[in-house]
C-alpha cells in the first residue's frame, strides 16, 4: 500500500494528460440548412470547434434540400446533427438542431453564441450607420477582471483567485487526509498493543501518558516522512513518465496552465492558428504574468507557517481522540460505533472547506475556521485570501487549548482503557473511566 501511493498520485495526474493527447480522433459533422440565407458563404468551413480537446466539429452547408430527406437515413449517414436556420430567424429568434443523440451543452452554446453575434452584426448593419465597422471595432470590449488587493501598509498586490483557491484547497485537503490516515493509524497501533497484551509490560516501564504521546508523535513523524517520500516520488514519476510517454506535453508550466485554461473556455489551444494567434499569445503573457504576480504577492511564509501549525496541531488533536477510541475497544471492528462522533466534525470541516473556497468570508466559513475541530481544514482555504490577525490568533489559540484539554482527557481515559477488556464500547463507559483516579 505504501509503495502504491506515489503510483496512484502519478496516475491521477498523468491519466487526464493522456486523455488530453487523444484529441482529433473523432470528427463530428454538422449539416447546416440555411433557409434564411443569412449565413450562406459566411459560415466557417473545416474543423472549427474543438470539444474537450478530443473531438472536432465540422460544418457542411447544404442548399435546396428539404429536411425530410435527411430524417430517414440520418443515423446511418453519420451526421452528428442538423442545424436548421429558418428563413424568419431575424424575427423569431429561434433555430433548431435535429439529432439522434442529445447535443452537448458545449456545442449548442457555441452555435448559439456564433449565431447571436452574427445576427447582431447584421442587425447593426441594417441600420446603415456610417463607418459601422470602425465604430464596432472601437466599441468591442473585452473586460479583463483583475484583482488588486490593498495591503495594510498601503501596497497593492495583484492576485489571481484561481491560484489562491488552489493553494488553500491543496493545504486543506492535505491536512484532512493526513489527519484521517495517520490518526486512524494511531488508533490501530493502540489496538494492536492492547490485543497483543504487550501494553501491560510497556506501561510498567513507562507512564501511559508517555506511551500515548510517544505513539502519537512517532506515527506523526512516520506520516510526515511517508508524505514527503510520496510527494517526491510522485513528482519524479510524473516528470519522468511524462517525458518518456508524452513528449508533446513537455511544455513549461505556464503553457500548461494557459492551455488547460483555454480548454475550459472551449478554446482551441491545440490549434492556435485557427484564431488570431497574436491575441492568444498576448493573453498568454497576461495570464502568465498574472499568475506569477499572484504567486509573488501571496504571503508564502505566512501560509507555510499557518499550514504547518494547523497541520501539526490538527493532527495532534485528532490523534489524541483516535488514541482514546483505540484504548476503549478490544478489536478493530468495535471501533465503528465510537468513531463516528470523531470523524463527523472532520467530514463536516471538509464540506465547509469546499464551500468556503468560493466564499471564504461568509459566516459559515468563519465559524468553522474558529471552532477547533474543523479549523485545521477550514482555516487553510481562508488563509490565502487573507484572514484578519485576530481571527487567526483566536483560531490558533483555541486549537492549542483544545489540544491540551483533549490530551489531558485522553491520557486519563487511555490509562484506564488499555487495561480493560470485554467492556461495552460506549461513551458512557469512557466517561466512567475519565472519573477514575489515577
Amino acid at each position: 500500500m505504501s509503495m502504491l501511493g506515489p503510483l496512484i498520485f502519478a496516475a491521477y495526474i498523468l491519466i487526464p494528460m493522456y486523455f488530453a493527447t487523444l484529441e482529433d480522433k473523432e470528427e463530428k459533422l454538422m449539416v447546416v440548412i440555411d433557409d434564411s440565407g443569412l449565413f450562406t458563404g459566411r459560415g466557417p468551413e473545416g474543423p472549427v470547434f474543438t470539444i474537450s480537446g478530443t473531438e472536432t466539429l465540422k460544418f457542411q452547408v447544404v442548399e435546396g434540400v428539404p429536411i425530410e430527406t435527411f430524417k430517414e437515413s440520418f443515423e446511418e449517414s453519420g451526421y452528428y446533427g442538423l442545424l436548421f436556420i429558418p428563413s424568419n430567424i431575424l424575427s423569431s429568434n429561434s433555430s433548431l438542431i435535429y439529432s439522434t443523440n442529445q447535443v452537448s451543452l458545449e456545442i449548442s452554446e457555441y452555435l448559439k453564441r456564433s449565431m447571436e453575434s452574427e445576427i447582431e452584426d447584421l442587425k447593426l448593419a441594417s441600420h446603415e450607420i456610417e463607418n459601422i465597422e470602425k465604430i464596432l471595432l472601437e466599441v468591442e470590449t473585452s473586460i479583463n477582471v483583475r484583482n488588486i488587493k490593498w495591503t495594510k501598509d498601503g501596497k497593492t498586490q495583484e492576485t489571481n483567485t484561481g491560484v489562491v483557491m488552489a493553494i488553500g484547497y491543496l493545504g486543506g485537503m492535505l491536512i484532512f487526509f493526513f489527519i484521517f490516515f495517520f490518526g486512524s493509524q494511531v488508533m490501530r497501533g493502540v489496538i494492536e498493543e492492547k490485543v497483543s497484551r504487550i501494553i501491560e509490560v510497556i506501561v510498567s516501564s513507562v507512564k501511559p501518558f508517555q506511551l500515548m504521546m510517544g505513539k502519537i508523535l512517532g506515527v506523526g513523524l512516520v506520516g510526515l516522512t511517508q508524505f514527503l517520500i510520496w510527494m517526491i516520488l510522485s513528482a519524479v514519476l510524473v516528470t519522468g513518465l511524462k517525458a518518456a510517454f508524452f513528449p508533446e506535453l513537455n511544455q513549461s508550466p505556464t503553457e500548461q496552465v494557459v492551455a488547460s485554461d483555454l480548454f475550459m473556455q472551449g478554446g482551441t489551444a491545440q490549434e492556435p492558428a485557427m484564431q488570431t494567434p497574436e491575441n492568444i499569445s498576448i493573453e498568454d503573457m497576461d495570464m502568465a504574468q498574472e499568475i506569477f504576480a499572484s504567486l509573488k504577492s501571496i504571503p508564502a511564509g505566512m501560509i507555510l507557517i499557518s499550514f504547518l501549525f494547523f497541520f501539526i496541531f490538527g493532527y495532534l488533536l485528532y490523534a489524541a481522540m483516535f488514541a482514546v477510541i483505540g484504548s476503549a475497544v478490544d478489536n478493530e471492528t468495535d471501533t465503528q460505533q465510537l468513531i463516528f462522533p470523531v470523524i463527523l466534525p472532520l467530514i463536516l470541516g471538509l464540506y465547509v472547506m469546499i464551500s468556503a473556497i468560493s466564499n471564504p468570508d461568509n459566516s459559515l466559513a468563519f465559524w468553522f475556521s474558529i471552532i477547533p475541530f474543523t479549523s485545521p481544514v477550514v482555516m487553510m482555504v481562508r488563509i490565502p485570501f487573507g484572514v484578519p490577525w485576530w481571527q487567526l490568533a483566536l483560531s490558533a489559540s483555541l486549537l492549542v487549548l483544545t489540544f491540551l484539554a483533549m490530551t489531558w482527557v485522553a491520557a486519563k481515559v487511555y490509562r484506564t482503557g488499555i487495561l480493560m477488556y470485554g467492556k461495552k464500547n460506549s461513551y458512557k463507559e469512557i466517561w466512567k473511566w475519565l472519573r477514575y483516579s489515577s
Binding site: E192, E193, S196, R197, I198, I199, E200, V201, I202, V203, S204, S205, V206, K207, P208, R415, T416, L419, K432, Y436, S437, S438
Partner: protein, 320 residues
C-alpha cells in the same frame, strides 16, 4: 499486624491501607502488606479477589484511590520502574517484531544500554538454547516459546524486585520447573520476588511469606511456617500394629479417632486431640497401652486446606 509506625527497614515493599474502586465495585479494601527484602512472597486468592489489581498498583500501572506503596520505606516513584521486572498474567509481545530486536527494545525501555542488553541477551538465549529464534518473528513462535522470550525480557535488567502474575499458568511442566529454578536462583542472588498463584504446591515449595486475598480483603498474612502452625488441627497420623477394635475401644475420650486406613505400609489411624489440655505425650501414653506404635507424626495442614478453609470461613462470616 504492623503499621507504618513500626516499619522495619528490611521491607522492600510495603502496601499501606490500599483501596481501589472500580465504578461501584471495590477491588481492594484496605489491604496492607509487607514484603521483606530477599524473600519470595506469595499472593494467593480466588479469581477476581484483587491480586492483579494489587500487583498493578505496585507496578505503578494504576494508582490506588487511598493508601500508598512504599519502596524501602519511601513512596514508590518513577525511579523505581527500572529496578522492577513484571510478568503480567496475560503474556504478549509485538507479534510482527523479531524476537531479538524486541528483546533489545524492551531491555532498553528498562534502562539498559544496547550493548549491555545485547551481551546479557546472548547469555540468556544460550542458557535457554533458543539462539535460533533471534531473527524469527514472534508470531512464528509457539505460545510456550513466546513465554520463554518474555520471561527473559522480564528478568534481563536484573531487577531488585520481580513481580510475576500467575507465572506458572500456560507453561508445560518442564518449563514450570525451569521457571522455579530460575526464581530460586534469583532469590539466591538477592532479588525479592512477589508472585500471585493458584498453585498451592508451588506456594509451599517456594514462598517464605504469603498474603491471602479474598473478596478484596487480606484475610490471612504471614510466614508460611507460622501460618501452618496457626492452622494445625492437632491431628496425628499413627501407623500401628495390632487390632483395630482394640484401638477403637481403648482410646480415651479427649482423643477422637477420625479414621483408619489400611494399605501396603500397614494400618494408619488419624487421631485428633480434642482437649487442649492434653499433649502429644498423653496421646502416645494412651496408645502404648492399647497397641504397638510403628510411627507417629503430626498432620500439618497443607496450604490448599488452609486456603479453602479461610475462604469458606470468610464466606460464612459474611453470611452467604
Amino acid at each position: 499486624m504492623s503499621r507504618a509506625s513500626e516499619l522495619s527497614g528490611a521491607n522492600l515493599i510495603t502496601a499501606l491501607d490500599v483501596v481501589k474502586d472500580f465504578s461501584g465495585h471495590r477491588a481492594l479494601n484496605h489491604v496492607s502488606m509487607e514484603v521483606p527484602e530477599g524473600s519470595i512472597y506469595g499472593l494467593l486468592g480466588p479469581n477476581g479477589a484483587g491480586k492483579t489489581t494489587l500487583l498493578r498498583i505496585i507496578n505503578q500501572i494504576t494508582a490506588p484511590d487511598q493508601g500508598s506503596i512504599l519502596f524501602e520505606g519511601s513512596p514508590i516513584g518513577q525511579e523505581h520502574r527500572h529496578i522492577i521486572g513484571y510478568l503480567p498474567e496475560e503474556r504478549g509481545l509485538y507479534k510482527k517484531m523479531k524476537v531479538g530486536e524486541q528483546a533489545l527494545y524492551l531491555a532498553q525501555l528498562k534502562g539498559l544500554s544496547r550493548q549491555e542488553a545485547m551481551k546479557r541477551l546472548k547469555l540468556w538465549f544460550q542458557k535457554f538454547e533458543i539462539e535460533a529464534w533471534w531473527d524469527k518473528k514472534v508470531e512464528e513462535l509457539s505460545k510456550g516459546m513466546a513465554q520463554k522470550v518474555q520471561f527473559i525480557t522480564t528478568v534481563l535488567h536484573e531487577p531488585r524486585l520481580l513481580i510475576f502474575d500467575e507465572p506458572f499458568s500456560g507453561f508445560d511442566p518442564i518449563n514450570v520447573n525451569l521457571l522455579k529454578q530460575e526464581i530460586l536462583q534469583m532469590k539466591a542472588n538477592g532479588a525479592t520476588i512477589i508472585f500471585s498463584t493458584h498453585n498451592m504446591a508451588s506456594v509451599e515449595e517456594l514462598c517464605d511469606h504469603i498474603t491471602l486475598i479474598n473478596e478484596s480483603e487480606a484475610v490471612l498474612q504471614g510466614e508460611i511456617s507460622e501460618i501452618r502452625d496457626r492452622y494445625r488441627a492437632n491431628k496425628y497420623l499413627v501407623t500401628f500394629n495390632g487390632s483395630k477394635e482394640q484401638l477403637t475401644k481403648g482410646l480415651d475420650s479427649p482423643y477422637d479417632l477420625l479414621g483408619i486406613e489400611e494399605n501396603g505400609m500397614g494400618q494408619r489411624a488419624t487421631i485428633q486431640i480434642k482437649n487442649e489440655a492434653k499433649g502429644t505425650g498423653d496421646l502416645i501414653r494412651n496408645l502404648l497401652e492399647i497397641t504397638e506404635i510403628k510411627a507417629f507424626q503430626e498432620i500439618l495442614p497443607g496450604m490448599n486446606d488452609i486456603f479453602i478453609q479461610v475462604v469458606n470461613d470468610t464466606i460464612q462470616k459474611k453470611g452467604y
